[in-house]
Point group: D2
Chain length 356, copies 4
């Protein structure tokens, strides 16, 4: 199905090269002021215009809201919205019975549906994520109202890594003023250079996005079936090109001893209980503990390498070659930062709205 | 909620130190022969008796099936089952208002429910996973009937790693004859030694489990909301102590170039389409491509370090110390192998049963 | 939430007097030819233009499909669609703090959401059902492909009843050539006369819609949690103004003896098992038995009585009077026939798509 | 699937003539005192011992609670429970390939599952409803804590009707002191006499149960997809032998004029808004309005007529006759009263727990 979330739920639709994409956001609490400027900003930050290494596809991505908001406030009813596809170029893609693009969903869609939409990736295109950014921006606005902030940024691109943060969390300004969404200016420049090299080589890069949620109270999540980390993992692994998810010390924890990894409890100046460290990443037993919820998402290098000829087969299994001329990102990471942020905001709000 | 899966769904219940745990498995197809011996074997392999580094809690874990199976075949009706807790020792645990165990769910449960079950971890205890192993063994039997095999094994414990496999998949005999569930005998011995050292130090270790599903046909999964990797990630991240999930090249893919990571399509001897390599881990665009589905799950070191005194606070926030005398595993990984296998089997069957 | 169905799922949005209504249909099987003319016909039949006793609100109700269908065939991806509200007149309605319309949802929405959309009934308006008719028309097309037909017609309006049918099922032509959707011409004229009398009295009428599904194979439905009659009842009782549902002999069965009500099994000419009678209404134990699925839905008289002054209170509880000048149906039944048909088609298809 | 409810969810299991039935209740709020005596009373009231016209099957129906409750209070974790089948007599039933019992689920189960459990009705037996009564009793206890009461009683058996109530709601004592669950003593005796006559004729009767929920605050329910009446209808129509549901004036409303059916708003002595009448049955636009929620459920006469020979076919379609010797109720209604009450309590609690 094409939905995310149980209590705050986005159901989206739309092929990459059809007339429009859009969605319905259900479960929105009533009476909340929505800053439309924040939605526009989120869309702009996802736009290829504002990042390095992005497709040259150019669309204003204007979101038309059709319901659920009246005079700037939510009604509690579903928010329907559409985004017209104004720069679709279906002719840039192989025919339905043409070459299968490697590492794309062409072959698996053919197996799943018994047919192939010749107009680009259809639902497999990252264009679908624009709808997530809309729903995420609204979720983020509702969370902000409760003092909860969601930040995501680029931790690495290819072999250039900005390293694990020291505990300080960058501002959105620091993040989004970088064309690769890395808040450390020197690393940002190194990453840009790496992207340039890859583009010249008709090659592509992957990378890692870090995401931190602050202000989430303790007690959010469920112990077995809907652990907060399980919901977050599902949300992140649903992003195109995502290959891995971890939280807290994550994969590094596998090589640590219990005495190193242990977050001892202590008492804050105000008498509140908190952990002295945050190896756990803000979640224990599936439920938030009041510390920042910290996670990472790994992205593979983009499959489409414009200008490079690759060998493949067509839909009938006949060997052939393929040289893509479409407009494609060199690296998903700078734009994926916006999607990670959106998915985190939706997932955290969903968990907050769960009955307790 | 306490359910896993949509079409093949386990709903479980039971506190670690209450009278029994159990569950209901719904969505089971009718008329399938269930080998009860396979269920017993799966339970035995999860049992602390058969692994290194495990708790000394000793229970026969006899599964009593109450419905859904008649004369060895499934009826299509829900399978209800219970497992009595015969070796519960609630007295080994702190009082409800006593010390909060660090890195456990004591504090987060208190915040979530406003109360604390003094009888050990309640639902947060890994004892809950016994129910998953039951449902997973039945799922694995149904999958085996369709030619689909699920294997899971220990890839690393602490800093001892058996390395990424060369493509060959170990047999269950190779895996489960190792007391740490590592099919490479030399590495298995190294891991046992590492566990011994940790136990002597009153410390604990983490590690990584690898899981591979073979025989899954292409076309299983959904493109946006229920990507196969998202379902698998949620299933794995719901396992106690799991901190990370990746599939295919996973986190390593983040540092690769597109030209390295690309799985070119080719044609098998029988004319079928397949990929020449499997960087993608058997899934493209959220849907299986016919190659083995390969994933990893990272586990943190176990939080309870018997014999070691740790500083903490009690439920009122007063500083105190805690020295655990309970029976605890030194490392979750050898037993988690059985749980990873169960969750993979349930998730894959769930995806197979989804309407298409 | 604003969804219907589990496997074939409509999620709709849109306020009656906002810019547009619309929805997303998810779970649509791939590769099915959709006759757009059938969708237009279904919309036309629901339109007030073509029935007696309807609102004078006039809109073309043009459905714009945005995804999921390409060159006349379903892609398997979600079908997004919108319908612009072109004849909205929000000024016809009381202010947000004005009189509460009796038997409307004004007061309950205020309690539920803490606010009141002043632009007419919002989601409570029957305008919302236009989206159901779209999704129902597509479902009916998919069902027709499998030899399953859904018919709905007016059985009574006010005290004029066409009686229980003799087993023959009227054609859509017979039904929809009647301006009140009653296939018996003499009764149709009586119903029209009753509507005229009610309108002259500034009053409104209720009635009963009958619905029959033919061609459904035996074995569809579930025994406990998703009984076919339970799904149908929920679908029908979600229609605005519906007050009752029954199937087979329904409420009349309560006064019958077992020996009267019993559907004996017999064997058809082709050796197939079938029942000699259909008191059961095509469902036994929650599962279809191959006989026609027959049900009724009772509708209350419409709450808005244009021109009649009624006493009420405003949103602050102050007594006041209200005389509605809006455009309203005298009787919901003729248009509800289209909605009952749509809900039946969606529900039956949903049950057919359920995994088994 | 075998679940009821979304937020307060019962998942049940168990065949009528297997070793046990039972279930898991998930979504139970934490920290609520549960009066086990109330659960026992509810079970006793459903028991055939305490009603007229019931099966002679005799079982203590002892509920063994296995989790979720500790020292008389809910933990917030799932409540698992089992009820042993101690008086099962599978030998009373036809063989798997024997006669199909008319108006039973034998044939439809065979079509649905491709096999037939020879041990009586399996999941189709009303024995399954014992689990609903357990979950309903716990729901009713939680509701009572909030001042919400659920009453159900017999309104008619066969052609003996106690008539629509005058607005006063009978006490549980008045209801359950009657062996047919009719609070009017004269009508209760008439109903008993009708049951005796039917039994002597080897025949069975149907009837109608009325249910009223008081104390529910205004604002509970959802406007489109989860209307309170749609949830209630689905819950009631899932009860074995239920053939119809209506609420408020129900089917009678179909013949009323709007001016008769209209619930005018007025102001209570305390300034609160309420309706002067309750034709609407406490729900407007899918959402409670603070008035009592009033509904009816129609039950068909029981299909099994012990001692009466009926013609039928066997599983291969060969004509045969069948004379049932099993122990069966003459009328489902007296025991169904307990099930209607349970389903109402579960459904109302489910709606109350929905996020808002």
């Amino acid at each position: 199905m094409n939905s995310f979330g149980t209590y705050y739920r986005l159901t989206s639709f739309g092929e990459s090269h059809g007339p429009a994409i859009g969605g319905v956001i259900d479960g929105v609490p009533a009476g909340i002021a929505i800053d439309m400027e924040a939605v526009r900003t989120a869309m702009e930050r996802r736009s290829p215009r504002s990042v390095s290494g992005a497709t040259t596809r150019r669309e204003p991505d204007t979101v038309e809201f059709l319901s659920g908001i009246y005079e700037g406030r939510t009604l509690g009813t579903p928010i329907g919205f559409i985004i017209r596809n104004t720069d679709a170029r279906p002719q840039d893609y192989p025919d339905a019975d043409g070459p299968l693009r490697p590492n794309h969903a062409d072959y698996t869609y053919l197996c799943r549906y018994g047919l192939r939409d010749p107009r680009g990736g259809g639902r497999a295109s990252a264009r679908e994520t624009a709808c997530r950014v809309v729903a995420g921006a609204i979720a983020a606005a509702i969370l902000a109202d409760k003092g909860i902030a969601v930040r995501a940024w680029t931790e690495s691109i290819g072999t250039v890594s900005a390293g694990v943060p020291d505990g300080s969390i960058p501002s959105d300004d620091d993040i989004f003023s970088s064309p690769v969404r890395c808040p450390q200016p020197d690393k940002s420049r190194e990453m840009e250079a790496a992207l340039d090299r890859a583009r010249r080589d008709s090659d592509t890069l992957g990378g890692i996005v870090r995401c931190v949620v602050t202000g989430l109270p303790a007690g959010i999540g469920d112990p077995v079936g809907d652990k907060l980390q399980a919901r977050l993992a599902a949300a992140m692994m649903s992003i195109p090109a995502a290959k891995g998810f971890d939280y807290g010390d994550g994969f590094a924890a596998a090589a640590m001893r219990g005495s190193e990894h242990c977050d001892l409890f202590t008492t804050g100046a105000d008498g509140s209980i908190r952990t002295a460290t945050n190896h756990s990443g803000g979640i224990q037993g599936g439920i938030s503990n009041g510390a920042p919820v910290a996670m990472r998402v790994a992205f593979k290098p983009i499959a489409s390498m414009p200008g490079r000829e690759v060998s493949t087969v067509d839909a009938s299994g006949r060997p052939c070659t393929l040289r893509l001329s479409g407009r494609h990102d060199v690296c998903a990471v700078p734009r994926a930062v916006s999607v990670v942020r959106a998915m985190a905001a939706m997932t955290i709000l969903d968990a907050l709205l769960a009955p307790r």
